[in-house]
Amino acid sequence: MISSDVIRGYNDTFLLSLLAQGDSYGYDLSRQIRELTDDAYIIKETTMYSAFTRLKKKGYITSYPGTVTQGKKRTYYSITEKGKNYLKEKRQEWRITKEVVDKLVGGDNK
């Protein structure tokens, strides 16, 4: 499992990236993160909701009450145009970051 310190700055981007594929709600998003990373990263509940709050404040996502499933009314999140633009920027930033870290810390070939 990854230490959450390293990944802290990327939680917002993870969520945006998943929401870019379609609206979703809390549990489903945390499940997707775990499954996509083969249990290597598990986002903490409070970390995820801090990120939602932050993203909402910045206007990157909006929320709406979903339909009731299994007796629970869930809050769904949806990415905005502004959020999509931000995600695009972050993707570019990540490409550069990855290269830099790879060169300095070492990738597969070292």
Binding site: Y27, Y49, S50
Partner: protein
């Protein structure tokens, strides 16, 4: 499952409950329950499932900080109501509607009076004009009074905003900047209202000084203009008041007890000034003037008393601080 619910209850203890925080709590609880069910389905034991769910919960303070909420003594959150953003928005809307309907009520009554005057103006050519006019007055008054009664009853719902309540720093900041934005419309409305009231004199003058229209018709039009002007006052004034109320009564949870107590003392001070101080001044003015016959200059007492009032208030204020 109950363990999880209990855990969330503990985590959210002392968190002021608004629509937003309650929704957050419900969402998180739902997620944890989903996670728990999924773990159980994949073959985990009760203990394992609960352990994993709680381990993956995280740090509640991180979340509360992002939310702009401080956890407090539970006493405070039970003594004072907490108003979230949606509560406050509804409040402003309700106040606006109240102002609008009160204004409409006044306009309606004035329109009834204007109708009566119009029919009276044509009494000579229209038989029974007085009765038609009275009928007009009566029906419009009923509409107006009906509006007052409805709004009066609804005003009771807004009472909870009249005493101090807990508000989140983010919300307060936002509403204060909204009020700043609203200032222009507010000033425009006041100017429009005042202009209409001043303009309302024109039809009366036209009626009185020219032969363009009968005086009564002039007065009727004047009443209508005043009525429209009043709507500007009551509508924008009530919205402005709502913002002022949020600024005044919306307090942060850390300081609400202290500030509420201070407001209460200030209120008492104002009460003493208004209910005791000024009547005494008026009595002194009359007694002195009657007995000494000094009407020509004894009004000066009001100027002096006015100056003294602010001195007394600021003295009381400085005691307050020490």
């Amino acid at each position: 499952m109950n363990t999880i619910r209990e855990y969330i209850e503990q985590m959210f203890k002392g968190v002021p409950m608004t629509e937003e925080t309650a929704q957050l709590k419900a969402d998180i609880l739902a997620n944890l329950e989903d996670k728990y069910t999924a773990l159980k389905d994949s073959g985990a034991s009760e203990h394992e499932a609960i352990g994993t769910v709680i381990a993956e919960f995280g740090d509640i303070d991180e979340l509360l900080e992002e939310f702009g909420v401080t956890r407090v003594n539970q006493q405070v959150t039970t003594n004072y109501e907490t108003m979230g953003e949606s509560d406050l928005r509804q409040y402003i809307q309700a106040k606006g509607k109240l102002g609008w309907n009160i204004g409409l009520g006044i306009l309606s009554i004035l329109a009834g009076m204007a109708g009566l005057l119009l029919f009276l103006a044509f009494q000579a050519v229209l038989p029974g004009a007085l009765y038609i006019g009275l009928f007009f007055l009566f029906s419009f008054s009923v509409i107006g009074i009906g509006l007052f009664i409805i709004e009066g009853m609804k005003a009771g719902d807004l009472k909870r905003f009249n005493s101090p309540y807990i508000i989140f720093p983010n919300d307060k900041e936002q509403f204060i900047s909204e009020q700043e934005d609203y200032k222009r419309s507010f000033i425009f409305s006041i100017v429009a209202g005042v202009s209409l009231c001043i303009m309302s004199i024109t039809p009366i003058l036209m009626g009185a000084l020219t032969t363009l229209l009968p005086v009564l018709v002039g007065v009727a039009f004047s009443l209508l203009l005043i009525g429209v002007g009043i709507i500007f006052f009551t509508y924008s004034g009530n919205i402005w008041n709502a913002y002022e109320n949020i600024k005044q009564n919306g307090k942060f949870v850390e300081v609400i007890e202290e500030e509420a107590a201070r407001d209460e003392r200030n209120r008492k001070m104002n009460y003493i000034i208004d209910e005791i101080y000024w009547p005494i001044i008026v009595v002194i003015y009359f007694v002195f003037s009657f007995t000494q016959g000094t009407w020509a200059w004894s009004w000066v007492i009001f100027v002096l008393a006015g100056a003294l009032e602010s001195t007394i208030k600021s003295l009381a204020g400085s005691w307050e601080k020490t």
